[in-house]
């Protein structure tokens, strides 16, 4: 079996693992990261895209709120290209207790969340589609955060500092020697080959899957995955993050991100983070709650629905997952379970991923008896060096000098042929779905109706794929899109889906592709 030697092995390629790999590599450790699928395909790629100001936690979870305040400010400096500075509003709708506004204001002041009450008229001027009956509005520095860009930038930075990033490598076992984890056996999911990675320390950053990884080392970590569903609507119903000003509950946030807006979310404890069923009742609830923030929400076009699993971690048995703090804990399995060379970073959320990584690496340094300070808060991520925020018009602006001078492969998301081939060249993807996350291919209103055929043709030519690989990529992409579309298919989105059926099944007859 081929062997790879490293100092720090990170398990998990979400924002936490990517942050840990970057921090470890920047502190000078030989680092490797393994992820069972593509990067950012677990919880990170399935969240609503909200960079928290801390306001959401100001009343009920002050520790998490304070962390968000600090990390929000840091990420605005180091990850500007991943952030759209939308700002956020907390609004009291007619369905919310108006008294909560005072609790909210107090909580923000106590935890340091920058907050300003704005006149209702001003809030409605800023967001004209908001429920006109709102009674109070508070501005906070919420923003939207592109999770794929974030993880990609972190892993690129880690790689620039010497880290090995290994997506599609699943951990199948941890090597234990005298109660010490000395490495892991991983399976390359693309070709089935096994690889042994020997490491001085293994950092379990598998989030909602951390319990499964811990058990491979004989340790018990009780993660209580909290399922949350999100629905992407086909355009920006709001341009500011809009939150209900009330204790956190279901369907109380709408996040404008890239070309869409996302409503979330629910919180239901589930046993297995890989089994996240979206129920019709949850969908109905999102629509009902959406109506309270933006009247007519139900009549807007719902693009797709998906669920993510929060990596909630608590020692106590709790009935309400929302009562669990959203902060994080570093578990040293030597102290806890008598297993050396193995730590787990549990809990947390994407907004504080950098802090989680810093804490994890502080523990790593302590265990390896070295003193190397964290610098991840000082050095900007790749493409964020100029500290300019992403803005919605960026792709249009790039086209403006000479309109029509480049082929637009995905009209919904304005992806050019050059943009697409660069992403293919950089990623060497296994299929179109990997490319999708890099460039948002097929994520707009038509959900790939026009671009999938084109992108398949380009991928086929560019990567010299054989017909089977190209066909598999095409069919898998259609199936993947369908999965998120079919539970909310009605109205104009059904029209769109039916047009796509006519294209793929009628015009192209992809159901009859050769073996």
């Amino acid at each position: 079996m081929p062997t790879l030697q490293t100092e720090v092995l990170v398990v998990g390629g979400g924002s936490t693992g990517a942050g840990v790999a970057r921090d470890a590599a920047m502190r000078g450790f030989a680092t490797a990261l393994v992820e069972r699928g593509d990067l950012a395909t677990g919880t990170t790629g399935r969240f609503h895209g909200l960079l928290h100001s801390g306001g959401r936690y100001a009343v009920k979870d002050p520790v998490a709120a304070r962390e968000c305040v600090v990390e929000n400010a840091i990420l605005r400096r180091i990850a500007a290209d991943c952030i759209e500075d939308t700002g956020g509003l907390f609004v009291s709708t007619p369905w919310d207790d108006p008294g909560f506004g005072d609790d909210f204001l107090r909580g923000c002041l106590e935890t340091g969340v920058p907050v300003e009450e704005v006149p209702v008229a001003e809030a409605l001027r800023q967001e004209p589609r908001l429920e006109p009956g709102i009674t109070r509005a508070f501005a906070v520095p919420d923003a939207s955060l592109d999770p794929w860009k974030l993880v990609s930038a972190c892993t690129r930075s880690a790689a620039e500092h010497g880290a090995r990033i290994l997506p599609y490598h699943r951990v199948v076992g941890l090597e234990l020697h005298d109660n010490r984890v000395v490495g892991a056996r991983v399976n390359d999911e693309r070709n089935g080959e096994e690889l042994e990675i020997r490491a001085d320390i293994v950092v379990n950053a598998a989030g909602a899957w951390a319990g499964q990884i811990a058990s491979l080392g004989g340790c018990v970590v009780t993660v209580r995955p909290g399922k949350g569903i999100m629905i992407a609507m086909n355009h920006r119903l709001v341009n500011t993050v809009v939150n209900r000003c009330k204790p956190p509950s279901d369907g109380d946030i709408i996040v404008p991100i890239r070309t869409v807006s996302v409503i979330g979310t629910t919180d239901i404890q589930v046993a297995d983070p890989d089994e996240l069923e979206v129920t019709p009742a949850e969908i109905e609830e999102m629509f009902d709650e959406g109506e309270k923030l933006v009247p007519g929400f139900r009549k807007a076009r719902a693009l797709r629905v998906w669920a993510g699993a929060r990596p909630l971690y608590t020692l106590d048995d709790v009935a309400d997952p929302r009562a669990v703090s959203r902060t994080h804990t570093v578990l040293d399995h030597a102290k806890r379970d008598g297993v050396e060379g193995f730590i787990t970073i549990a809990g947390g959320k994407t907004t504080t991923f950098r802090l989680m990584a810093e804490h994890a690496l502080d523990t790593v340094c302590e265990k390896l008896r070295v003193d190397r300070p964290c610098t991840t808060h000082e050095q900007p991520l790749p493409d964020s060096e100029d500290e300019r925020f992403y803005w919605l018009g960026a792709r249009v602006q790039a086209q403006e000098p000479v309109p029509g001078s480049e082929e637009i492969i995905c009209e919904c998301e304005l992806i050019t042929r050059r943009h697409l081939t660069e992403a293919i060249a950089r990623r060497r993807p296994t299929g179109l779905d990997d490319v999708r996350r890099r460039v948002r291919l097929g994520m707009g209103p038509c959900q790939g109706g026009f671009c999938i055929y084109r992108a398949t043709g380009i991928l086929h030519a560019f990567e010299h794929l054989d017909h089977q690989a190209a066909n598999a990529s095409l069919v898998d992409f259609l199936q993947e899109r369908w999965k998120g579309v079919q539970p909310i298919l009605y109205g104009d989105q059904l029209r769109q889906a039916r047009l796509d059926d006519w294209i793929f099944q009628g015009l192209l007859a992809v159901g009859h592709l050769p073996e």
Binding site: F287, R298, A302, V402, G404, S405, E406, E407, I408, I409, R417, F450, Y453, R454, T456, G457, I458, H460, A461, D466, H467, A470, N471, L474, V475, L478, Q479, R481, W482, K483, Q486, P487, L489, Y490, G491, L494, R495, R498, L499, D501, W502, I503, Q505, G506, L507, L508, A509, V510, G511, H512, L513, P514, E515
Partner: protein
Amino acid sequence: MNEAHGRLVPASYDAVVIGAGLAGLTAALRLAEEGQRVAVLAKGVGATHLAPATIDVLGYDDGPVDSPARTLPEFADANPQHPYRRLSIDLIRASLDWFKACLSDHGYRGGLDQNLLVPTAVGVAKPTALVPETMAAADLRQGGRFIFVGFRGLKDFFPAYLADNLARTPLPGGAAVTTRVVELSPPLGVARDVSATGFARRFEQADFRESVLAELGRHLMPGEIVGFPAVLGLEGARKVWQELETRLGHSVFEVATLPPSVPGIRLYETMTGALRRRGARLVVGTTVAGAEGSGNRLEGVVAHTAGRPLTYRANSFVLATGGFASGGLQLDSSGEVREPVFDLPVAGLPGPEEPRFERGYFDEHAISRAGVAVDASSRPIDGEGTPVYENLHAVGATLSGAVPWREASGNGLSLASGYAAASAILEAS
């Protein structure tokens, strides 16, 4: 008549057709040919602009269909709710003959007895009953050596991918196909992103054709059959195609590709031109959203225009608004399916506990067969089988019981049902 609006009020018609896809145009043109005064009211252009202009009568049953004429009786028996159950082979055959005659300058080839096999843009050999002459040389049943032509700047056609699949497609009778590809870089000026219609307009220009002929001529080997994307001109397509065949000395054909469909636009232009010549009125850009009638007789339909509602009166009416894709059927967020013009009863719905959609994209979804059920005279019926209006007929993708994009039956159903509705109207008058 609406006196308040004086001379702006349209005259009354023999027949009003709602929808300008193939089904609506077929019904309208047949009625106009027989001397009826016809108005076609349409929200926009129909599915002609999305679909290839082939007439697929029945392409797939369990597998590819060799002969629709032979398979249809069995198919209709196995699918008792299918519109083909009511449309006899003779009627379908008559509709194809009528269509070929009416589109004579498109030179449609084929028939009901034997499907042709033509390559799709991903290289599937797809069965279809009729193809325009510009696609006929694609017929794969005899095999052959094919070369597919791509154009730099046309993002809707990937000949290498097509050729790779087609070369591996098993053909009936063991016909052998070889494929190869050439990519041309014709002069496009400053433009880098040219649509299919943009290429079609360029092909109508002699100097553009010259540059294509010059570049392509160098690449061809004797006996090769040359496949282009379906962009060989609009009004002048026949001339363009003939010139390419003559000058190259090779058989030339078109492969349908992503919408907008250039062959579909030609079909639409020919049929609407014929309608206008026969004095029919064609109003595109108006939404019909209401009916006036007494008892079970429809007197008029109310069309929303930019200014105000207008009532179009007629003796008979044809609903040809299409299925979900065209807005002829609508599903709301609570799961209710509606036919929005007349609020007709919708048949073929999944039960209350049954999921509307399956999880597998390629599975058959319960809602796919939803639509308007009709009687032997093509009239929408209620649950008891009684016509909702004695003078309203429904055609095309609005009908329940079919899954046309899976069966490859879309244009065949539109043509035959449009033809049948016109026959019923003519008989009744």
